[in-house]
Amino acid sequence: MNPRTGFYPNWIAFQTILHREVTRFMRIWPQTLFPPVITMSLYFLIFGKFIGSQIRPIEGYVYIQYLVPGLVLMSIMNNSYANTSASFFLAKFNKSIEEMLIAPLSNLTILLGFMLGGAVRGLLVGLIVLVIGLLFTHIPLMHPLIMLFIAILSAMVFSLGGFINGIYAKRFDDISFIPTFVLTPLTYLGGVFYSTQQLPPLWRQLSWFNPIFSMVDSFRFGILGISDLPSFYGFAVVLLFFLALFAWAWYLLRKGVGIKV
């Protein structure tokens, strides 16, 4: 086997892409790390402190405590998605993607590098938001493994989503369309701010079809130990989405969609 095309060189190439992705979002931290800090602090302050003080506790937790897991996961999801969609689209736009296409690394390596690069940003922002949340309130950590599992897998799922969006995007606007019109509504309706127990039956049942709801719900179970749905539900959904999006992204990359003429 050629020493340049086996596992080891791909391992180095993978580390390189990951390194490059992290370098990129760290270089532009005022655009990538700082805004979520501001927005989330405002959420904690306004919804948590000002409005939350007037809301009845939910299953034994005061409102701001209930809010922390949702906002942390929302930050993880948004930032993972934003990272790969922007980074991959830009790499297409300035053609630097050719640096990878010309080299002997495999498509799988490219995919893993971008995916984990986005996930790292999502998880980093999630951690920052968690720390901010802890400045406002205290929370237990009921099932840390479940929390970690959901956090990491959702980061990768949304990173993959952003990657696919980046592949299809032809213009800058195309990478904000899905976040604005699909992800944000699903997140806001996905139990970040309220328990579905508080909803009329029809809306509650509709929520169950919202995949983001099940992820938020399981994540909250990991932290607070309370959930609207059985917690395996979130596991199943996040795994399913991970596998499906991974296969889809890999397929698109192999076909050269959006990158080869």
Binding site: N2, P3, R4, T5, Y8, P9, N10, W11, I12, A13, Q15, T16, I17, H19, R20, T23, R27, L90, A91, N94, K95, S96, E98, E99, M100, L101, I102, A103, P104, L105, S106, G256, K260, V261
Partner: protein, 311 residues
């Protein structure tokens, strides 16, 4: 062994443009090869397909005996490509661009840093290593792409107009560098619109026009085929009508500039003797156009004329 073999390569872009109509190309190992052609002839398309950036419609390519379709990674690891258009991130640090590129080839970081230093020095960019690429001038960006293409120490180096926009001094130093690289065994394929450059550097040449190869030859033999050359004389004293010289066509451009066409077999010595006899004092002499250029234009016009004649 052939460094590059291209068989019946066709490319039809999705918008219907037929860029390559089935070209054949062979480049021997150790060759310094020029691929010449006008704008839109199909040079970059060919290079894009060889470097896996453009999908071919049909045909077969192999590099140093490895089939591009079957042993893609092998082929890629043997290739270095300097593209015609800028394709790096402007916001990345220059040193990072090179180190990352090496990483994609599976080269350890320590070795990558060593090579980065070597090639940035070679290209005169070492002092800019910590700057983002956006701060480079046009010619520097081009040299950055040359350095980048060398990071995996390719056996076959393909350069798509590497000297466009590079100043005279640096162009000469790039020529020296490429010649040296070639002497050390790297096969080089070059496209350029400076035919003087091709003539000076390359041993073999192919001319592509409208997606077809219309000429493949040894550079020296091809140039010797030029049937006509035009010499331009700058005169020391003004002349008011063109001198009559048997066998030579002369034309007075202005009172201090005389052009003389000489055919193959005619002697430049004799011409100068004639001019001497007529008391015409020569200040300097040069070729009106580079010989390869003349031949190139001739071949292209012929090809276009033949096309028109076809029913």
């Amino acid at each position: 062994m052939t460094a590059l073999s291209v068989r019946n390569l066709r490319k039809v872009y999705t918008n219907g443009t037929v860029a390559l109509k089935g070209i054949d190309l062979d480049v021997a190992q150790g060759d310094f090869f020029a691929l010449l052609g006008q704008n839109g002839a199909g040079k970059s398309t060919t290079i894009g397909i060889i470097s896996s950036l453009i999908t071919k419609t049909s045909g077969k390519i192999s590099v140093l005996g490895h089939d591009l379709d079957l042993e893609t990674a092998q082929v890629k690891s043997l290739l270095g490509v300097v593209p015609q258009e800028m394709n790096f991130s402007l916001f990345e640090k220059i040193s990072d661009i090179l180190i990352f590129q090496a990483g994609y080839y599976g080269i350890r970081r320590a070795l990558a840093i060593e090579r980065m230093e070597m090639y940035l020095n070679e290209m005169g960019l070492w002092h800019l290593r910590d700057q983002p690429a956006i701060q480079l001038s046009g010619g520097m960006k081009r040299r950055l792409m040359v350095a980048r293409a060398l990071m995996n120490q390719p056996k076959l180096l393909i350069l798509d107009e590497p000297t466009a926009g590079v100043d005279v001094e640096l162009r000469h130093s790039l020529w020296r560098f490429l010649t040296q690289l070639n002497e050390q065994g790297t096969t080089i394929i070059l496209t350029t619109h400076y035919l003087e450059e091709a003539e000076r550097l390359c041993k073999n040449v192919a001319i592509i026009d409208g997606g077809e190869i219309i000429e493949k030859a040894n550079m020296k033999l091809l140039i010797n085929r030029t049937s006509m050359q035009t010499l331009v004389f700058d005169l020391e004293l003004p002349l008011f009508h063109a001198p009559k010289l048997d066998d030579y066509q002369t034309q007075l451009i202005d009172e201090l500039t005389l052009e003389v066409q000489i055919k193959r077999g005619q002697s430049i010595n004799e011409l100068i003797q004639f001019l001497n006899e007529q008391n015409i004092r020569i200040a300097s002499m040069r070729n009106k156009t580079n010989r390869l250029e003349e031949l190139f234009l001739h071949l292209i016009t012929e090809n276009k004329r033949n096309k028109v004649d076809e029913p």
